[in-house]
């Protein structure tokens, strides 16, 4: 990196793109976390893993909607995948352009997220759809593991590539650091852990994984904090740090960094020992604290992306 000089115009990527980055990070993070719980965890982690897969799918569904709405010509979304111009007709795939790669990555992740969602719906047995039943019959044993492993690769890609997309530009801040991809990935995983904590109220059996999710979130938050430090150092070398953290964006950075404190402090950990006889109130306080801290983490995930997106575009 070097002292960068930029004369670019901002692309005016605002709320829809912020929303897309947020949901893509959470969807990818949820899927990856679910796969980790299923592949590395004990049998009692299966419930939390299923919760992750159940969350990843609807979160992912929001993404193409937001992406399309942000386009100047939403009905031409498919032009991302199919060349209708003088170079066509042909499929569009530009591996050196994260936006092109990302569209295909999103599509591939969508396939795996859908399969895992249908599988979990069938396994849970709450709803009986022929399609989910058929998927569950095929996706068993090693096939299920393979689906989760390959799906995780695409999930992590979707969570990270949005940061790389910003870097592969000539915009100030974005193009002055290699850290954005990793930063969005770590943040997405942390947000996913928070989301699981938030939603496991409606899936009591997932409580068995609370400690694991909390500890994992601690690692994700630590990683995110380290990457923020790397980002600031590289932006400093490029002479863009002041721009990135100037008013009013520093507020968003403060929110993003403060939101990492609860997972770092292990606040999600349900280590309190309670007696079934008389400490229900204490348990309720624990749940309330978990909801509050998970919400703070999610706000931080949003604030981080907003700080990155907005500060570069002034």
């Amino acid at each position: 990196m070097f002292l960068a000089v930029h004369f670019t115009q901002p692309p005016e990527w605002r709320w829809y793109i912020l929303g897309y980055f947020f949901f893509a990070g959470l969807a990818g993070g949820c899927y990856a976390l679910g796969a980790m719980l299923r592949l590395f965890g004990r049998p009692s982690d299966e419930s939390a893993a299923r919760l992750c897969f159940l969350l990843a799918f609807p979160l992912l569904l929001v993404c193409p909607v937001l992406l399309s709405i942000d386009l100047g010509q939403p009905a031409r979304f498919w032009h991302m995948m199919y060349d209708t111009g003088v170079g066509g007709p042909a499929l569009n795939f530009k591996s050196w352009t994260p936006m092109s790669l990302g569209v295909w990555g999103l599509l591939a992740f969508g396939v795996f997220a859908t399969i895992s969602f249908l599988e979990v719906v069938a396994l849970d047995g709450r709803y009986r759809y022929p399609l989910s039943g058929a998927v569950a019959k095929v996706v068993v044993g090693p096939v299920a593991r393979l689906v989760n492993v390959v799906g995780t690769v695409f999930a992590l890609f979707v969570a990270a590539y949005t940061g790389v997309l910003l870097s592969v530009s000539n915009q100030p801040v974005w193009s002055d650091s290699y850290a954005l991809g990793g930063l969005f990935l770590a943040s997405g995983l942390s947000g996913a852990a928070a989301l699981v904590t938030l939603f496991r109220r409606w899936r009591p059996t997932a409580e068995a994984s609370d400690a694991a999710v909390a500890e994992a979130d601690g690692y994700f938050a630590l990683l995110e904090l380290a990457i923020i430090a790397v980002l600031f150092v590289t932006l400093g070398f490029a002479g863009q740090l002041v721009r990135a953290i100037s008013a009013p964006w520093f507020v968003l950075w403060i929110v993003a960094i403060l939101s990492l404190l609860p997972p770092l402090a292990g606040r999600f950990r349900s280590g309190v020992v309670v007696s079934p006889a008389g400490t229900a109130a204490l348990a309720r306080m624990g749940v309330a604290a978990n909801v509050a801290t998970a919400t703070i983490v999610l706000v931080g995930v949003l604030a981080l992306r907003a700080a990155v997106i907005w500060s570069a575009q002034g």
Binding site: R38, P43, S44, R76, H79, V86, V164, A179, E215
Partner: protein, 289 residues
């Protein structure tokens, strides 16, 4: 392919009349933006965008790094800015729809029927040339009057320029003319005069290149390491993501696997708290898949 065409803009003879802006708008049927008072010398166009494909920059002495004198005073610099039609075009590189193409005249052109308005090219263009139109939902920039070129006509701006500051023609002819003009200026003492984009040091060479009277940065033109393609960050960006993913997976694995050990509460003497259990240790839900 036809011979490569381009512009040679000699800023030393630009008088800031804006005839190029007007001619461009007229031929390309650009409405222009609502006029604003920009408090920026004689400039009320501001920047290149979807409605302004030519923009005459006025650079006052306070911005200059080298003294460009005329008579007893310092001269302002004026420059009719335009899309550079780069040989290695950042916009063309990142366009995910392949709407941005190179024409038979070796110019860079946006196919309006293919563009979907993602604006990735705007974030990539190092010159701030491309603008998004709310009216069409697509991005626009100078086409080097592609329709006029197809009919063997000179682009509107070059046709209208009263001082020959904007010259149009075959690229090789323009380069020769630029070299000659630079020699003349150096001969009469304008040692700061330099060509920008004439050779391949900036984006592989520019089809719309300039003769400048000061450093390129003064005109808002990147040089050296700042004049780089967006794809330079691909490897570093993805590598950063891969390293973060590996560390996150290791962290997650450690966190999840560590609990395979018996929980601490089970190791307690039975008599201490026989009826207690951790909040998070109730039902496990899995089927062991």
């Amino acid at each position: 392919m036809a011979q490569a065409k381009g512009f040679f803009t000699d800023t030393s003879v630009c008088i800031g009349c804006k005839a190029c802006e007007v001619a461009c708008k007229e031929w390309n049927q650009l409405k222009g933006d609502e006029p604003h008072f920009l408090a920026d010398s004689f400039d009320n166009t501001g920047k290149l965008d979807a409605e302004n494909w030519r923009h005459v920059k006025f650079i006052e002495p306070s911005s200059l790094t080298a003294a460009t004198t005329v008579g007893d005073g310092q001269a302002w610099l004026m420059m009719s800015d335009v899309c550079k039609h780069c040989q290695h075009a950042s916009c063309l590189e990142v366009c995910p729809t392949n709407a941005i193409v190179r024409t038979e005249f070796d110019t860079v052109f946006i196919q309006q029927e293919t563009c979907n308005g993602c604006r990735n090219c705007i974030s990539a263009c190092p010159y701030g040339v491309i603008g998004f139109s709310q009216t069409t939902g697509t991005v626009h920039k100078c086409t080097l009057c592609y329709d006029r070129l197809q009919n063997d006509m000179t682009p509107a701006c070059a046709k209208a320029c009263p001082t020959q500051s904007i010259q149009f023609g075959n690229l090789t002819d323009l380069q020769a003319a630029a070299d000659k003009r630079l020699g003349q200026l150096h001969q009469v003492g304008y040692s700061n005069a330099q060509l920008y984009g004439r050779d391949n040091t900036v984006y592989g060479g520019l089809n719309a290149f300039f003769l400048l009277m000061d450093k390129p940065q003064v005109y808002g033109l990147p040089t050296g390491e700042s004049a780089a393609l967006p794809s330079r960050n691909n490897v570093g960006g993805y590598l950063g993501g891969v390293i973060a993913a590996a560390l996150a997976l290791i962290g997650g694995m450690i966190a999840i696997r560590r609990r395979r050990e018996p929980p601490a509460v089970e190791a307690r003497p039975p008599a201490a708290e026989p009826e207690t259990q951790p909040v998070g240790s109730r039902a496990g839900g899995g089927d062991g898949r």
